[in-house]
């Protein structure tokens, strides 16, 4: 089969990309005198980290909206579940009293990092191993919790169609956000306060005995996890189940008549999408170094929906490209619009705080009005095409 031939080149491409990311974030330490962009504090790395996290969520949303044709707006809610699950399970027991001081400590005197710490030790290499394992397990569990809630909510909600489904899932996400801020749940969720103190991306940097960083991995980690997840999603999309999802999107009645159980397949897609949204939520918590229900607003869902639309509904590579462009614009390239600027004594009009969002909105309107297929439509980038292999099947692993 064609896919077998493509497997190793694709894998090699992904490995190269990840190595490139490691090199990129460590180059400033190895080669002195590089421009500021390559310094670890530069916006470049903020953008890369955030975009890596967002691209996972965008692809998971695309699986649902673009490939299964379920217009769901619950992504922020599932991210919230993932973020909290990760945070609660990885804050070290020693820090819990401090984090939950308003509620007299956490209800869970338990942390995966400590759990593995009992096996591998809490310091040195053993400490690193237990942190990595603990975080990994917590991230997977973050996905599982989100997926489980999707399964529960799917029973009533997936019987709805199009906009009704969107409203129901949006409502679900908003309810979750309110519940997680409820003071009575304080011992678990820390009420409206943020949960802090869990391992973040920079915890994965390898440090020397004196605390100096030997090898930076803080950008590599989100890239790595996102890449693994997106590869899984692409494998799913190109499998028999992925084709079944697409048939539901194209024509539900025909799909059902050809023996594809609508409810079963929709639930499957919803649960898988939410699983990865949960993982994305955990990564987001690591990125911002705190978990706070306030952050997971519907605005966040819209942002991701926008990315999916810009990238092209039904294109994984489109979603990834759009995420990087979107995040780079909003966090970096268009930042200058927010500050006043002078040409000599001439003050450039309009540039002031908030103008960035105006430009952004206009750009988005133009895209939606005139390029409604987005960057990629429903095509995929074929990374192997330039190497002369003629591949008719679409498959894309970008970044």
């Amino acid at each position: 089969m064609k896919e077998n031939k493509r497997f190793f080149p694709t894998l090699a491409g992904i490995a190269l990309l990840l190595i490139f990311v490691i090199l990129l974030e460590n180059i400033s330490a190895a080669v002195p005198g590089l421009p500021d962009v390559f310094q670890p504090t530069s916006p470049l790395f903020t953008v890369l980290k955030k975009a890596a996290v967002y691209s996972l969520v965008a692809v998971s949303m695309n699986l649902l909206n673009g490939f299964t044709g379920l217009f769901s707006l619950g992504q922020a809610g599932f991210m919230l579940l993932g973020a909290y699950t990760y945070a609660i399970l990885t804050v070290p027991a020693a820090q819990k009293d401090q984090v939950y001081y308003l509620f007299g400590g956490c209800a869970f005197e338990f942390s995966f990092v400590d759990m593995f710490g009992m096996v591998f030790g809490n310091s040195g290499v053993g400490g690193a191993v237990s942190m990595v394992l603990g975080c990994l397990l917590a991230i997977i569990l973050a996905g599982v919790v989100a997926g489980f809630f999707a399964f529960l909510i799917g029973f009533p909600v997936l019987r709805l169609k199009s906009d009704y489904l969107a409203i129901a899932t949006l409502g679900f996400a908003e309810i979750l956000r309110a519940i997680f801020q409820w003071q009575k749940l304080g011992p678990i969720t820390n009420g409206a306060n943020m949960i802090k103190g869990f391992p973040t991306f920079s915890s994965f940097n390898i440090t020397g005995p004196s605390g100096n960083v030997i090898l930076r991995l803080s950008t590599f980690i989100p890239f790595f996890i996102t890449t693994v997840c997106i590869v899984l999603i692409v494998l799913l999309i190109n499998s028999s189940y992925g084709r079944a999802f697409k048939s539901i999107r194209d024509d539900e009645v025909a799909a059902e008549a050809m023996g594809i159980g609508l409810f079963r397949h929709k639930t499957l897609s919803f649960v898988i999408s939410s699983f990865f949204a949960g993982v994305g939520g955990a990564l987001f918590a690591m990125y911002v170094a705190n978990a706070q229900a306030k952050a997971f607003t519907s605005t966040m869902t819209y942002e991701i929906l926008l990315i999916v639309v810009i990238g092209g509904i039904g294109s994984v590579s489109g979603s990834v490209i759009a995420t990087f462009l979107y995040v780079a614009c909003s966090e970096w390239w268009l930042r200058f619009l927010d500050s006043e600027m002078y040409f000599g004594s001439f003050k450039i009009p309009l540039l002031r705080n908030g103008f960035r969002m105006v430009v952004f909105s206009v750009v988005i309107m133009v895209i939606v009005l005139f390029f409604s297929n987005g960057i990629m439509g429903n095509r995929e980038i074929d990374l192997l095409k330039p190497f002369g292999k003629k591949n008719k099947k679409k498959e894309g692993h970008t970044h």
Binding site: L236, S247, I260
Partner: protein
Amino acid sequence: MENNEEKIALHLENVTMQFGGVVSVNNLSLDVPEHKIIALIGPNGAGKTTAFNCITGVYQPTNGLIEFMGEPMVRSHPVGKAEKGYKGQNADKYANEPILAPTPDRITALGIARTFQNIRLWSSMTVFENVLIAKHMRAKQNVFSAIFRGNLAEEKRMREETMALLCEQGLDTYKNEIATSLPYGLQRRLEIARALATEPKLLLLDEPAAGMNPQETLELAEFVQEIREKYNLTIFLIEHHMDLVMNISDYIYVIDFGSEIAEGEPEAVQSNQKVIEAYLGVSEESA
């Protein structure tokens, strides 16, 4: 049609479908014996497609029983609001039996496949994929084996069978074309190929010759008989083209306003006064 040697593939008994106050299918009873080609005809709006939708699970009939291969498949009686406003007959007959209302995919899994009056191919997908997806239902796999490619043998088998089916239907040259870009006749043929991919015992064709020219219709008639032999199918079809119906069917049921008005061999039906009236209207003199 009472012949004890024949096995009945599909049996409808008192099937009634009522939408609000409108009775679309009224007390319809019919038998489709195995390995026969049976036609359901009637003027526009007679309830033919509704009857099909009841059989394939798109609608749950208001009342009645549908048996497939001797097993009850769909059974219903009016309940709640429908009970008060029920205009049909035999409501008590099934009232004590539990309601059976499987979803269309379960009915397809039992071995009933269908085509649609207004072609419903998956428009973003190629000819090959359209048939391949129909193989999904019978594939031995689960979502994990599919993601981690533990189903490679199964996937290979599905692809090979799909290719064989396409070759056989003469669609192999179009396999990478988008399904809806094919000419009309080929789209119909593809829809039948897709239905065959679900490995049915009974094939329901909803106006397979709609929009076809006489030449295409002729080819279709041969084609339908061919696949019946080849796949050992029972065929139940709705049709408007009288030529086609008279040509290929073994037995014909005629309905009008949801009720059966005639049944019989093609010749008998053709000369039946009621059928002629239903199709051509009643003339002033004879009325």
